[in-house]
């Protein structure tokens, strides 16, 4: 072996270890020495040394990131997960926690740890387009990671931590730029979308150059063991052997695994799954209260008037759903408040041609609204708030109902704070602050809004119900989530003899959705492919049925098919679920034995 030169910047320390001297600073030092200056300030010299000393990472294994997180207090299972990914999985893992357990937090912890240690500088985070801003905000606010949403082409190079949608990244001209980079870390959210090897998304991720890699999904297996194989191969090719040996070792049928113990062992090297109900991760109960209210005669008259109007229009339009959608909204608005329907009717009136025969009919309805003095639901809300005596969130679908409620509550001496999708971020935060510290009631029209955490409140009033079960779930999810310490009470208001009654009975009795575990609905709907169609199914039923009994029968059918699909999906997935659950149990036992 060649004797290393005394001035060689690279020297062997050990048979498999080299020492590199970084000499990039020397040129400038010599230049300053030659000219005897200019010299830096002594205080700054000391501060520079102090700064290095403060950010020194003195141990290989101790988690550093916790000291760096000011406000955020991660939960036990999140910290355990981060540790395991860092020390056992060496930065390449599938985070497969069930929905609502904070996979984002886990990924953030791992990313932060590597950044603090200087092992990650450039990171690419690929998420569905609708989640880009939420990720950016969480990384910035909770972890102090300067992440940016990709907007302009130059940002790929300039921003070190960049969040983008996979569809953007794989498109020209972005694709070539992204392919030309070396990413210290790649995070893919909703990674179950990468289950098919043949898709461009899969190939794109496979081609990217990355050092550490995290794949986040709540449903690593949906229909087929092959999906899991593909996902793991993306992360660590060969972990489950070649395609052939995987088939012969672990697969009986695409849904039935064999050698489960060995499979689980292999899985547990690359995947972590925490579940609700595992030690330390507990959710409180949900209590559902339904109030079926009787409309006042005036309100009932208006409802009937609007219903007849809508039905008539539907028959005229010969079953064209799209044009009728806004008309059904009228019916739903009557159930909410007269204010809501008033605004829509007036708008409809304005839009209708002046010579149209509809105009006088619409105006008739508007005139009917004038006759209504009290709002049945409004009175009930006041009564409820009085009984509850704690903080309450009231959700409504309509702006006009929201304003009505705010005024109505105020006239009863209750401080209420509004919350809307249209508010800018600062205002939203401010409203949250006010609700937390100074007001008893929040009246919200939007639940999907990211990042609003209302765990300090455990009473929800559904002033009216959305038809999309996902939106109901989102409303509840704002309150019923990790960190909620009390049981959650849900109060549903509906009105007798209206479409609302049917909707509530479908959601509550037939689908049983208020009792579903958080996140389950999402998975079921996705499995059924029902996400888009459930709403229009409902619409059809309501419009085409002659009377209430017919509606009831048809809704029964929908409910039955929903439950059927749910059971079927469950049954099909049972063997796969068993694998996943046993894996989670294992994780759990391990964590238990350590602590």
């Amino acid at each position: 072996m060649r004797k290393p030169d005394q001035t060689d910047p690279v020297r062997p320390l050990h048979d498999r270890l080299q020492l590199h001297f970084d000499r990039s600073w020397q040129e400038e030092w010599e230049a300053r020495l030659d000219k005897n200056g200019p010299w830096d300030d002594w205080t700054l010299y000391q501060l520079a040394y102090e700064a290095e000393r403060a950010s020194l990472v003195s141990s290989f294994d101790e988690l550093q990131c916790l000291a760096h997180l000011g406000q955020l207090k991660p939960m036990g299972h999140q910290i355990d997960t981060a540790r395991k990914v860092l020390h056992e999985m060496r930065g390449r893992a599938i985070l497969a926690d069930e929905v609502g357990l904070g996979k984002t937090i886990e990924a953030g912890l791992i990313l932060k740890e590597y950044m603090v240690r200087g092992l990650v500088r450039k990171a690419l985070i690929l998420v569905p387009a609708s989640l880009v801003l939420q990720w950016v905000r969480e990384l910035n606010q909770k972890f102090g990671i300067p992440a940016a949403a990709q907007k302009k082409e130059y940002m790929w190079r300039q921003c070190d931590v960049i969040v983008a949608s996979i569809d953007t990244a794989k498109r020209d001209p972005h694709r070539d730029i992204v392919m030309g980079m070396e990413y210290d870390m790649l995070i893919v959210d909703e990674a179950h979308k990468l289950k098919n090897k043949k898709t461009t998304n899969y190939k794109f991720i496979n081609e990217l150059r990355k050092k550490y890699c995290l794949l986040l999904t709540a449903t690593p297996i949906q229909n087929d063991l092959g999906e899991l194989y593909n996902l793991i191969t993306l992360l660590k090719p060969g972990q489950l052997g070649g395609q052939g040996s995987f088939q012969s070792n672990f697969v009986v049928d695409k849904r039935i695994p064999k050698n489960e113990d060995q499979l689980q062992q292999e899985l547990s090297k690359v995947m972590i799954r925490n579940r609700r109900g595992d030690g330390g991760i507990s959710f409180t109960k949900r209590h559902v209260n339904n109030f079926l209210l009787t409309l006042s005669p005036e309100e009932q008259k208006l409802y009937d008037g609007v219903t007849n109007f809508v039905k008539g229009r539907y028959e005229e339009s010969q079953g064209q759903l799209s044009s009728i959608l806004s008309l059904v909204t009228l019916q739903r608005e009557v159930c909410s408040s007269r204010d809501a329907v008033f605004v829509s009717l007036v708008n409809l009136f304005k839009k209708t041609a002046e010579d149209s025969p509809l105009r006088p009919r619409i105006w008739e309805l508007v005139e009917m609204i004038r006759g209504i003095e009290a709002n049945t639901k409004g009175e009930k809300v006041i009564e409820l708030i009085g009984d509850i005596k704690e903080k309450v969130i009231i959700f409504t679908e309509y702006r006009a109902s929201q304003e009505y409620l705010l005024n109505f509550l105020k006239s009863h001496g209750l401080t209420a704070v509004p919350y809307r999708g249209g508010m800018n971020r600062g205002k939203k935060d401010w409203m949250m602050d006010l609700f937390r510290n100074r007001a008893q009631v929040l009246v919200a029209t939007e639940a999907g809004g990211e990042g609003i955490n209302l765990q300090f409140c455990n009473h929800i009033v559904n002033f009216d119900l959305p038809w999309n079960p996902m939106r109901v779930e989102q409303r509840i999810g704002r309150v019923h989530r990790l960190g909620q310490e009390k049981d959650v009470h849900i109060y549903n208001l509906s009105t007798k003899g209206t479409i609302e009654e049917h909707i509530l009975s479908l959601l509550h009795e037939k689908i049983n959705m208020f009792e579903l575990v958080i996140g389950e609905l999402d998975v079921i709907l996705e499995r059924m492919g029902k996400k888009a169609t459930l709403e229009s199914d409902l619409l059809k039923v309501l419009l085409e049925s002659g009377n209430d009994d017919e509606i009831r029968l048809k809704l029964d059918d929908i409910g039955r098919s929903f439950r059927g699909a749910m059971e079927e999906a469950d049954e099909q997935a049972a063997p796969l679920k068993k694998v996943m659950d046993r894996m989670a149990d294992k994780t759990q036992k391990k964590a238990g034995s350590r602590s």
Partner: protein, 395 residues
């Protein structure tokens, strides 16, 4: 780094850049940045370009740096509790107001605006104030202040009552004469939390790293001035090394080495041994520098060799383990890709091979153990005697 250390660190930086401290509290400091610090911290390159080109007097930014958010919050609610500045008179609850409401930060920090005062004395303030924890506590000086002074200074108007509530008597006197006291600029000051790990602190770290790199200093001895004979100083080359030991995980070490340019002697912990001494960039009177035998360049080579020897003695099991992991991982993908290549169509092979090579590179990149030594900063130090804490009579 704990809160106190961070506070000391940041104050030193602000002082070194010539920034002007406006207000210093237990948990925070309000500071008007010097042009130097403003350029370094505020990312306003366009503005500074404008200043340079037009030659106008630069207007630097004022910041409130908060070192202990909880203590600061507590102090703030103590002052601002009397005026529920967070709740505007009527706009928000009814959704009617088109005007943008103040951001929560500004509302909490600056309860001096006339609007805040209105809510403080007005009827709406009563109910809202009851909901506020600060007022309910009753300990807040602001709340008693506003309640007592509000009616008493009625002719002066509500704004005066508001400022009195914040505990600034001088302004309340002004208020009595002029009726209205313009709110101080402090109420619009952006706030920044400077805890360990915060972005702003990281930024300051980065700035000082870039600015305190190379140095040449002389020890300043008071005693030397009164001694008739010129004092001979020895010259030391001090280098602060950062050593990074990395595989897929990483740890760091600092090595501060000093090299006597006359004798070639090397000492460790050199930086710490300097902290007690008074050092100045100018050659003090009655002092001369003794001749040296080594150039800094030569010293650098010897220091590198010294460091190499130190590192060689370490337990490098971690590197062996990392190397084993590296081989394991390589074996794993070998199996996979060799299988795949065997079965693959001729036309697909180049692609698979490319992918194979990429995976190999990634694994090497991830696991290969390596040690890197870089220099944080270095300098020439002309000292009386040897470095070390033992030179008491000079201090």
């Amino acid at each position: 780094m704990n809160t106190k250390q961070i506070q000391r660190f940041v104050l030193k930086y602000l002082e070194a850049t010539g920034s002007q401290i406006i207000e210093k509290g237990h948990a925070h400091v309000t500071v008007k940045l010097s042009p130097e610090a403003d350029r370094e911290l505020t990312n306003r390159s366009y503005y500074w370009n404008f200043v340079e080109r037009t030659g106008v007097e630069p207007e630097t930014m004022t910041f409130t740096f908060i070192f202990d958010p909880e203590a600061h919050q507590a102090a703030q609610t103590g002052i601002g509790g009397g005026q529920p500045a967070g709740l505007p008179p009527s706009g928000a609850p009814t959704l009617g107001g088109g005007a943008a409401p103040p951001t929560p930060g500004a509302a909490g920090a600056g309860p001096t605006g006339p609007r805040g005062a209105h809510t403080g004395v007005g009827p709406t303030g009563g109910s809202a104030g009851a909901a506020g924890p600060g007022a309910a506590g009753g300990s807040a000086p602001g709340s008693t202040g506003a309640a007592a002074l509000g009616p008493a200074s009625a002719p002066a108007g509500a704004p005066a009552a508001g400022t009195a509530g914040t505990g600034q008597p001088s302004e309340s006197i002004l208020g009595r004469y002029f009726g209205f006291v313009p709110t101080s600029p402090v109420s619009r000051v952006p706030q920044d939390v400077l805890t360990y790990g915060s972005r702003r602190l990281e930024q300051i770290f980065a700035v000082v790293r870039g600015k305190g790199r190379f140095i040449r200093l002389f020890e300043d001895l008071k005693a030397a001035r009164s001694v008739p004979l010129s004092q001979g100083y020895s010259s030391w080359f001090g280098v602060n090394f950062k050593v990074q030991l990395a595989c897929d995980m990483k740890r760091d070490e600092l090595h501060s080495l000093g090299f006597d340019l006359a004798t070639g002697e090397i000492v460790e912990q050199f930086h710490d041994s300097l902290t007690g001494r008074r050092l100045t960039p100018k050659l003090p009177v009655n002092v001369h520098v003794l001749p040296t035998r080594f150039t800094p360049a030569k010293a650098m080579i010897l220091l590198e060799n010294y460091l190499e020897k130190v590192l060689r003695r370490y337990d490098h099991t971690w590197a062996e383990q990392a190397a084993e992991r590296l081989e394991d991982e390589l074996r794993r993908i070998d199996e996979y890709y060799l299988d795949l290549l065997k079965a693959a169509d001729e036309s697909l092979r180049p692609d698979i091979e490319q992918q194979y090579r990429n995976r190999q590179q990634e694994i090497d990149w991830q696991y290969r153990p390596r040690v890197t030594a870089s220099v944080i900063n270095c300098g020439i130090f002309h000292l009386q005697g040897r470095p070390g804490p033992a030179i008491d009579e000079n201090r």
